[in-house]
């Protein structure tokens, strides 16, 4: 097996003595669609926050494409090639859809105050490139028509897509999606599956998603990891996971989603 794109080893995280993640080890191979599932409060979002530099694990190592990510600030991790969406929509309010997506290009461009004030040729070229990339990302996720609307006034499902477009605009190698299907209806979920596949197939971006809809997880992912009470309890193909007794117990034990798995 080749060196994984993302590799976590022995991650421990706690808040005020409260253990949230315990000795979590985990790897994502380049080119995969991998999923992270687990009951509410299992620590999935916290794990994303460790990977993206928002939380500092007290133990363990995180490496991405051979680079040590620990101690890097979130913006450096994004620049290194990891983009994310948030479980709760975090679009920039009062700004248009296009302006929101343009934010992703910030770490791929460099013009500063002087360039802006003097309107240097390099600055104007860069602005055009930012617009073009943002527009292309919006078209890719299928909401280009709404580019000039204030982002937070869009229907919920479209806001989710704008968030994905914004993450794509950072030109990532790895995309982390935190519950991208939450709040979507059946049709929208089917479209999301298509979108996730095309992000991987057409843009060659590795995907790791957190999802509660196990049906969706089983259909879209090649590897599934299960987190329960801050511990990684199972890892395998969707089929292996569906029949793993520890997984079934974790879901039954938490009583929500008990039959969602089956």
């Amino acid at each position: 097996m080749t060196e994984p794109l993302l590799h976590l080893a022995g991650i421990g995280l706690s808040f005020a003595g409260n253990t949230v993640l315990q000795d979590v080890s985990f790897a994502v191979q380049e080119g995969r669609v991998a999923s992270l599932i687990g009951p509410n409060g299992a620590g999935k979002t916290s794990l994303f926050n460790c990977i993206t530099g928002f939380y500092r694990p007290r133990a363990g190592r995180i490496s991405f494409a051979g680079q040590d990510l620990r101690r890097l600030k979130p913006h450096r991790i994004t620049a290194a090639g990891i983009a994310r969406t948030f479980q709760n929509l975090r679009l920039f309010r009062e700004m248009t859809v296009l302006e929101n997506v343009m934010s992703g290009m910030h770490c791929r461009t460099r013009a500063g105050a002087i360039g802006a004030i003097l309107r240097l040729a390099s600055q104007r070229r860069e602005e055009e490139e930012i617009r073009a990339v943002a527009h292309e990302c919006l078209a890719f996720v299928g909401v280009a028509d709404e580019r000039d609307r204030i982002a937070t006034t869009l229907p919920y499902g479209h806001q989710r897509r704008v968030e994905i477009a914004r993450a794509l605009a950072t030109r990532p190698r790895l995309l982390l999606l935190d519950e991208p299907a939450a709040g979507l209806n059946g049709g929208e979920k089917r479209e999301l599956i298509g979108l996730i596949r095309s992000i991987r197939d057409q843009r060659a971006i590795t995907i790791l998603l957190i999802e509660h809809d196990t049906g969706l997880v089983m259909r879209v992912s090649e590897r599934v990891s299960v987190l329960d009470h801050g511990q990684m309890i199972a890892e395998g193909t969707p089929r292996e996971i569906q029949t793993d007794p520890r997984v079934i117990e974790a879901y039954l034990g938490s009583d929500e989603d008990a039959d969602a798995l089956l």
Binding site: A79, R90, L91, E94, S103, G104, C107, A116, I117
Partner: protein, 325 residues
């Protein structure tokens, strides 16, 4: 006053719409420049001096607007940078005999360094430490100026010479009025260009959602520092020209209440909106002058008016999106 504010708001709506449209905009700009050029001849010397002061306020308010309106940072000691510019010019021209135009880059450099020294460590912290630190910085600068021989202690510096520009001796109130017209116009253009740029958007991203901005690869500390230093430089340039205009500077010009007045101009017209900030600066300077007939009550009436505007137009007098271009 309350109904005044509403009438103003109702008038400003269509007016702003008209001004932002293609040809209407050019006509409005042409009229504005004609009026600005003619004003000293029509209004006389006293009014020209007052207008010059209003234009200085436009420069300072637009500078502070980069910090407060664009980046959303509360700066309670902005007059410190105004002082840095004024004293740098005062000291270098008087004590080192330097040409004013050569002291300008020095004023900009000193302000930038001061901005990095004050903002660098503070902007790393979340929340509103900046408000407290800038408040302290403003007082430190003023008290230092009061106590150092080189800044002339409490009586300040006087005899600062008026500059020459290619054979033009900038000396009369009318000369300075035109200089400040150019400065205010330049500040407005700089503001507009910054607002519509990668950096300008980054300020908004960070202001609206720091975490999402970081996740998009934006270094929030660096971006905030850029705003703080940009504001510092604009303030120092304002201070430099203020020093040669008056020929004398002293600590009371750079007090906390000066910082508050500039901040009031920014908030009053509408943070982040360039025409709004210009309007705010005009009101802060011209308001008390226009109410002069009320005698000793004028400041009270003015303050009540401001309060009512805040109550009925909390996002400022100028309508529209806070970063409308």
């Amino acid at each position: 006053m309350a109904s005044d504010a509403r009438v103003l708001a109702r008038l400003a709506g269509p007016l702003a719409g008209f001004l932002s449209r293609g040809i209407g905009r050019w006509i409005a700009l042409a009229l504005l420049f004609a009026a600005m050029a003619a004003a000293p001849f029509v209004l006389g010397e006293y009014a020209t001096v007052i207008l010059t002061n209003a234009l200085l306020y436009v420069v300072l308010a637009l500078g502070l607007n980069v910090v407060v309106g664009y980046a959303g940072l509360l700066d309670l000691g902005y007059a410190a940078f105004f002082a840095v510019g004024a004293y740098t010019v005062g000291i270098l021209t008087l004590r080192a005999g330097m040409n004013f135009w050569l002291t300008l880059p020095a004023a900009v450099a000193v302000a930038a360094v001061a901005g990095v020294v004050v903002g660098g460590p503070t902007l790393r912290l979340r929340s509103d430490y900046l408000a407290i630190v800038t408040l302290g910085f403003g007082e430190i600068v003023r008290i230092t100026a009061r106590n150092l021989p080189i800044t002339g202690m409490a009586s300040g510096l006087s005899g600062i010479r008026q500059p020459w520009l290619f054979g033009w001796h900038i000396a009369t109130p009318r000369d300075f009025y035109y200089v400040f017209c150019v400065l205010a116009t330049a500040a407005a253009i700089v503001s507009a260009r910054l607002s519509d740029s990668r950096l300008g958007r980054a300020w908004l991203y960070v202001r609206y959602d720091e975490d999402a901005a970081e996740a998009m690869g934006i270094d929030r500390v660096r971006v905030k520092l850029a705003a703080y230093v940009t504001g510092a430089i604009i303030g120092a340039i304002g201070g430099a020209f203020f020093a040669v205009n008056l020929g004398a500077i002293s600590p009371p010009s750079f007090s906390f209440s000066q910082s508050v007045s500039i901040l009031m101009a920014v908030i009053l017209g509408g943070m982040g909106k360039i025409p709004g900030v210009i309007l705010g600066a005009m009101i802060v300077v011209l308001g008390p002058e226009l109410l002069r007939s009320l005698g000793e009550f004028r400041l009270l009436v003015f303050a009540i008016g401001l309060l009512l505007i805040m109550l009925f137009r909390p996002s400022g007098l100028w309508p529209g999106r806070s970063h409308a271009k």
